[in-house]
């Protein structure tokens, strides 16, 4: 597959949750902060709190990775294409929304460090 910068509505998985996730990640806790002590007239506004942090290494994360390894094992011993199981398909790549779009790499393996790489030929 050839990577390409796709037009705005790129992701193709529909829905707006991807958009919102992008928005939250892009803007939250960013931007200039006006010091309330300096600027008399700053109004306290009630903000809904949204915790966008998803990366917390913990047991759950580790178990999930172990599970991915486990699946990898099973499928390779059954001679299936690993991509069927582990690779997030296009649907899991969040939608790029109104933004530039997405570049999608995929398909063949990159040639960096080909050492001892598992065979992934189709049977």
């Amino acid at each position: 597959m050839t990577a390409a910068i796709q037009p705005a509505a790129g992701g193709g998985n529909g829905g707006s949750s991807g958009d919102l996730a992008d928005v939250i990640e892009t803007i939250l806790d960013k931007g200039l902060v006006i010091d309330a002590h300096v600027a008399i007239g700053v109004v306290g506004i009630r903000l809904m709190t949204i915790d966008a942090r998803v990366v917390v290494a913990g047991v759950d994360t580790y178990l999930r990775f172990a599970e991915a390894v486990n699946r990898l094992d099973l499928t390779s011993s059954e001679g299936k294409e690993l991509t069927d199981v582990v690779q997030p398909g296009a649907g899991m790549v969040e939608k790029a929304g109104q933004k530039l779009g997405e570049l999608v790499g995929g398909g063949s393996q990159r040639d960096r460090e080909p050492r001892r790489r598992r065979e992934r030929e189709e049977d």
Binding site: A3, I5, S16, L20, V23, T26, I27, K30, G31, L32, V33, I34, D35, A39, I40, G41, V42, V43, G44, I45, R46, L47, M48, I50, A52, V54, V55, A57, T61, Y62, L63, R64, F65, A66, E67, A68, V69, L72, D73, L82, V86, Q87, P88, V93, E94, A96, K99, G101, E102, L103, V104, G105, G106, S108, Q109, R110, R112, E113, R117, R118
Partner: protein, 251 residues
């Protein structure tokens, strides 16, 4: 001072000669206007203070306004939710930080932020990690051969190894991305990973005139070296959310 019922949301700072066309819409579909002071101005809209702010629509309206502004003029985003009681207060802030704002606006003129996020193709990355780690191989065998209830610790340890290996790969690939972009970008800021499987998460500033070069550099990396290794997404052009901390306020 009693609790005011309405105030002004401040979206961002723009050059003082920017005039609102009147059709810009902000949070709650309110009309966005400009408040100018000297060489700087602020984008504001009226807001009622009787409801909490931060619904998906609020967030998207805020970002949409700033990003669309950023395609035309330099803009310094204010943190979402910055609100002031009246126009005088907004002008006071512009006056107080006039020179800082003006300098930053000049610096960002003709540039926009882009966010590059790369995500690993785990079917390529996992085998490489396993092949390169003896302990992981042993754990994998143990997990396969023993009943599940006996392998809890082994599974946690295996996952931890994978997690740490991905962190190391991420560091290398982030560096690789920065190299690949080279001088097609004027500034780079590494962002915290947004996902366990992130290969890189990087905010960059790009000159409008260099946007094609920037996209070509990215495409080359994604198409060639990272083909099958990581997928690359780009968000932008954006207002410079990740490059305005320089004024020293807040964190």
């Amino acid at each position: 001072m009693g609790t005011p019922e309405s105030g002004y949301l401040v979206y961002g700072v723009v050059p003082g000669d920017v005039e609102s066309t009147g059709d810009g819409r902000g949070v709650g579909d309110a009309a966005v206007t400009t408040v100018a002071h000297g060489r700087v101005g602020a984008l504001v809209s009226e807001v009622t203070l009787d409801r909490p702010l931060g619904t998906p629509d609020d967030l998207m309206a805020y970002q949409r306004l700033l990003d669309s502004t950023a395609t035309a003029v330099p803009v310094l985003p204010m943190r979402f939710g910055t609100a002031m009681a009246d126009i005088d207060a907004v002008e006071a802030v512009l006056a107080e930080q006039h020179d800082q704002f003006a300098e930053l606006l000049e610096q960002f003129d003709g540039q926009a932020e882009f966010v590059v996020r790369a995500r690993y193709a785990m079917d390529s990355v996992l085998p490489e990690i396993l092949d390169g780690n003896e302990e992981a191989g042993a754990l994998r065998n143990q997990i396969r051969e023993q009943p599940e209830e006996l392998t809890g610790n082994a599974r946690v340890r295996l996952g931890e190894i994978v997690y740490q290996a991905i962190e190391a790969e991420r560091q290398r690939d982030t560096q690789r991305l920065v190299e690949a972009l080279g001088d097609t970008v004027t500034a780079c800021r590494e962002l915290p990973p947004s996902h366990d499987e992130d290969a890189a998460h990087l905010a960059v500033m790009v000159r409008t005139a260099q946007r094609d070069e920037f996209e070509d550099a990215l495409r080359n990396l994604a198409d060639d070296e990272w083909q099958g290794w990581a997928t690359v997404r780009v968000l932008g052009p954006l207002a410079p959310y990740d490059f305005v901390q320089a004024t020293g306020n807040g964190n």
